[in-house]
């Protein structure tokens, strides 16, 4: 009790805490509660039929599969980018380092139209791919490309500080004990980076799951081929099928909240690793 009193020397607890709770309640919690109330107006069998319809199942599969692929691509390249940015010096390094955050700052619609223009048949990159017999835009590959773009910063930015803080004496010790450089990287560096790499992967995956703006242009939005879950929700809303939209939204929201839990576990693991 004495401890609490001492902490309450500063004023403003009632004001700031009350304001925070009221604001969150009005802007975040009441709207979210509406979603679950709306779902409860469906019977269980209605809910189940909606969320397991063939079109919805395809949309989850595409969204989850493409998000995972994009997160994997970003894990591999993000690790290389983080390593190069931390360990090597080359011209333009500082600018590239700053540019890594671009997907956080660039509006998704802008990313969407420029990726679509680049990869469309006849576009700068789309033309090249077409000659190689690969269709990127208006195909599932386009969805993956857009997700790689929006989730690019996560792995780089979670791995980078860990690499920068890595004690190089351990690497030196490993080298002086006769380990080849490759063995040192694999046995010494990689294990200490792994928790942050997995955290970055999970963050990237979670970001891609809900992505909409950068994907709608390049994907072409064909049901059963390139239609992601977010778009299916929007389509249902525009048909005024609010119950259908809500049911699919609850599934996706459940997935996102599950990812929060996974990310929390991974983060506490990487913090433990740091100590």
């Amino acid at each position: 009790m004495a401890r609490v009193k001492r902490h309450r020397v500063l004023p403003g607890f009632g004001l700031t805490c009350g304001y925070t709770l009221t604001y969150l309640g009005l802007i975040v919690l009441i709207p979210l509660a509406t979603l679950f109330l709306k779902t409860s107006s469906l019977t269980w069998s209605q809910f189940w039929t909606t969320v397991t319809s063939e079109r919805a199942l395809f949309a989850y599969k595409l969204t989850i599969g493409a998000s995972f692929l994009a997160a994997l691509v970003n894990s591999v390249f993000g690790l290389i980018v983080a390593w190069a940015l931390v360990r090597y010096r080359f011209p333009g390094r500082a600018i590239l380092d700053a540019l890594v955050d671009l997907p956080f700052a660039l509006p998704t619609a802008v990313a969407g139209i420029s990726l679509c223009a680049l990869y469309a048949p006849g576009g700068w990159l789309g033309g090249i791919l077409q000659k190689a017999g690969v269709q990127a835009a208006y195909a599932p590959l386009g969805v993956v490309i857009a997700m790689v773009f929006v989730s690019l910063p996560f792995v780089v930015r979670t791995v980078q500080p860990v690499l920068a803080d890595l004690d190089q004496e351990v690497e030196e010790a490993s080298a002086s004990l006769g380990a080849r450089r490759w063995q040192t990287l694999r046995r010494v560096v990689f294990p200490s980076v792994l928790p942050s790499l997995l955290t970055g992967l999970a963050l990237a995956f979670g970001r891609s799951l809900g992505e909409f703006g950068s994907i709608v242009f390049i994907s072409g939005n064909m049901p059963g081929r390139t239609e992601i879950a977010s778009l299916l929700i929007l389509t249902r809303l525009e048909e005024f099928d609010y119950a259908g939209a809500t049911a699919i939204a609850v599934v996706m929201l459940g997935l996102s909240f599950g990812m929060i839990f996974v990310i929390n576990v991974l983060q506490s693991w990487s913090r433990r690793g740091a100590v």
């Binding site: 902490h7 403003g12 969150l24 540019l99 890594v100 660039l106 139209i113 420029s114 773009f149 939204a249």
Partner: protein, 302 residues
């Protein structure tokens, strides 16, 4: 330690000691892969925006921006940001004050709730407000009877923007203020300052850079939000179209030059955001280095 480093041949330019240096072929190939990946994924999309926006010269660019629908989209976007950014600044500062200066139960839960809008897909965020205020929503009939329009109108766009930008300022300030503790404010109070004086003279100068950091990220998201706004807007040209929505319409009508001209304005905003963000980080790193230098210097003289 100096002796050991000397034994291994000292440090190279990259800061890595010889025992920790990658072979030349590896440095070259990894650098090429990293630069190539970033150029392909980040630089090329920016280049195509400007290349298309100016493909018909300055005149084409200016004509595209000067269209009345483009102008009203720009104004609406600025309005949405002008409402949501200040609201979330006040919220962020209040939440960070409560969380960092006091101990109470459920703090972790509160932090999780603040972060929730980041985990809600933008489409779902927009949908929440349709379910609440739309024609078939909970408050729809009540609002219709009083002739108040929220969905497919400007208030809906502002609300959706506020929702998606809730966490930005708070999540920058909370860890910062937690690390600063409460001693400085307590000292100010014991010297006779009022609570507000302590806040404005002590807290605000301490958190100013973190606050600016949060504000520019919040602003970038407010100006660029697409999914959530798209659901509540109804796409009425000249009335409820924000810049990203106008870009979508222009692009889908194959009006590429005007679409990319609008997009180039948002790209400039994004690049400016990165410049400010990096400037703040550079400043923080420098002052940190200064503190370390001073501590080391003091330790040496002691």
């Amino acid at each position: 330690m100096a002796g050991a480093a000397g034994q291994f041949g000292g440090t190279n330019k990259a800061g890595g000691r010889v025992g920790t240096r990658d072979p030349l072929w590896m440095r070259w190939s990894l650098t090429i892969v990293a630069v190539g990946f970033l150029a392909l994924m980040l630089v090329l999309p920016l280049v195509i925006v400007f290349a298309t926006a100016f493909s018909k010269g300055w005149a084409g660019f200016a004509a595209a921006i000067a269209e009345s629908e483009s102008w009203s989209a720009i104004k609406l976007t600025l309005l949405a940001a002008a409402v949501s950014v200040p609201l979330n600044i006040v919220f962020g500062v209040a939440a960070a004050w409560a969380i960092s200066k006091f101990e109470f139960r459920g703090k972790d839960l509160l932090i999780t709730v603040i972060d929730l809008p980041f985990s809600v897909s933008p489409i779902i965020a927009g949908m929440l407000f349709v379910l609440l205020f739309g024609a078939q929503g909970w408050l729809g009939p009540w609002l219709a009877a009083r002739d108040i329009k929220i969905i497919f109108a400007v208030p809906g766009i502002v609300l959706a923007t506020v929702f998606v930008t809730v966490p930005f300022v708070a999540r920058e300030l909370i860890p910062l203020m937690q690390s600063q503790g409460r001693e400085e404010e307590e000292a100010a109070l014991s010297l006779g300052a009022s609570g507000w004086q302590a806040f404005f003279r002590v807290t605000i100068p301490n958190i100013k850079w973190g606050l600016i950091y949060g504000v520019i990220l919040c602003n970038a998201r407010a100006l660029g939000e697409f999914g959530a706004v798209s659901v509540v807007s109804g796409h009425i040209q000249g009335v409820t179209n924000t810049m990203p929505l106008q870009i979508e319409i222009l692009y889908n009508e194959y009006k590429f030059v005007p679409a990319f001209a609008m997009a180039s304005l948002l790209v400039l905003m994004a690049l400016l955001t990165l410049v400010v963000k990096h400037g703040i980080e550079w400043r923080a790193a420098r002052s940190h280095a200064q503190i370390v230098d001073e501590t080391v210097g003091a330790a040496a003289t002691a």
